[in-house]
């Protein structure tokens, strides 16, 4: 057992866990943040994507020890009170989800994509950059629409700041 200290959604947490614990299991099983999902055993589906020190990574492919001392944001950390993050709002408005299993990972990856590309985002780039996130329901069409819509809203929000 090792004590892991990290910041999750802005709150400092300290948890005693086995060294073999993956970050996703720390979030889900120890902190009850079950919005982050596990969709595969092979690091290929992206359902588990969270932000670690601002980068969108697969929390199923990171040991807790590697996450010690970092700042993690999960899907639960995006909304400000009742106000959804623009990416969450865009997924709702554009029917960017059906069963919703892939959605938390999609949203965390999508925010990272918008941050990296800013206003230069186009459909082909979104499709290419979402390669690490698999959806079995939507056929991706409305997901891509949601990301492009949110990119506009996020850039407007930045411009207003």
């Amino acid at each position: 057992m090792t004590t892991i200290n990290l910041t999750v959604n802005g709150k400092a947490v300290s948890v005693d866990v086995e060294d073999r614990t993956l970050l996703v299991h720390l979030l889900r099983d120890h902190l009850n943040l079950t919005g982050t999902h596990v969709g595969c055993d092979t690091s290929q589906c992206g359902a588990c994507v969270v932000h670690v020190d601002g980068r969108a990574v697969k929390s199923c492919t990171m040991l807790v020890g590697e996450a010690d001392g970092t700042s993690v944001t999960t899907i639960e950390g995006l909304a400000q009170g009742d106000q959804l993050h623009p990416m969450q709002a865009a997924f709702r408005d554009n029917h960017g989800l059906q069963c919703g299993f892939c959605t938390p990972g999609m949203i965390m990856s999508a925010i990272d994509i918008v941050k990296r590309h800013g206003g230069k985002l186009d459909e082909a780039t979104v499709r290419h950059e979402l390669e690490g996130n698999i959806c079995r329901c939507t056929g991706y069409h409305n997901i891509v629409k949601s990301v492009l819509d949110a990119a506009g809203r996020m850039n407007l929000a930045n411009a207003a700041e």
Partner: protein, 266 residues
Amino acid sequence: MYQTHYHRASSIDEAASLFAKGDDAKFLAGGQTLLPVMKQRLAAPSDVIDLAKIPALIGIEVTADRVVIKAATTHYDVATNAQVQKAIPALAALAGMIGDPAVRYRGTIGGSLANNDPAADYPAAVLALNATVKTNKREIAADDFFQGLFATALEDGEIITQVSFPVPAKAAYEKFRHPASRFALTGVFVAQSKAGDIRVAATGASASGVTRVAAIEQALKSNWSAAALDGVTISSDGLMSDIHGSADYRANLIKVMAQRAVAKAG
């Protein structure tokens, strides 16, 4: 995953001594290969020694003649580094084609080379650009480093510290990606050094891992152009045959990817 002990090393020497203390230790860099294998219980190291936060293993240095990438530098940092994009654009582009964005944020060049997956991308760049792999013990020439499927010249406990690439006159990489895994079904890196030497390496194709392709090197020596390869036939002997593609298909892909790469290199 089986039980293991995690250690975060703060220096190369500390990593080497932690490794020596474990019964069956393994180094961990980005974890994008080792952790999936441990999750499937195909590896069960007693100890994992994390190299990813050792300052001496992170960073990129570019001079007029060489691009030096420290071992724990991520694929993302190589792909987006403006100096690498300028000195060896093919190398930055290759790093940007590995896996998906989340994999590129964590995966490292040292991990990719130490693992030497037969379909990995970096080995093709290292071999075609005639790079030198430096470890905590010695320097290893590209031609000596890769020794077959998942096999390298590294000794037990040896740590890759950096990879030094000579800046070529021309180079390009073309990859026919497996659409699901995103690894190379076949990828070809072509390079012409400033002294005029031509080296071509193929990944994803040979059953013995990354290899140079003599027939293509020969043809490009007399005429550096995609058309020079029209008459070349690549033998399918020793190439992989699996559900994704037969050896003959891969032999043809080597030629087609080489032609596209030469056209791209200009």
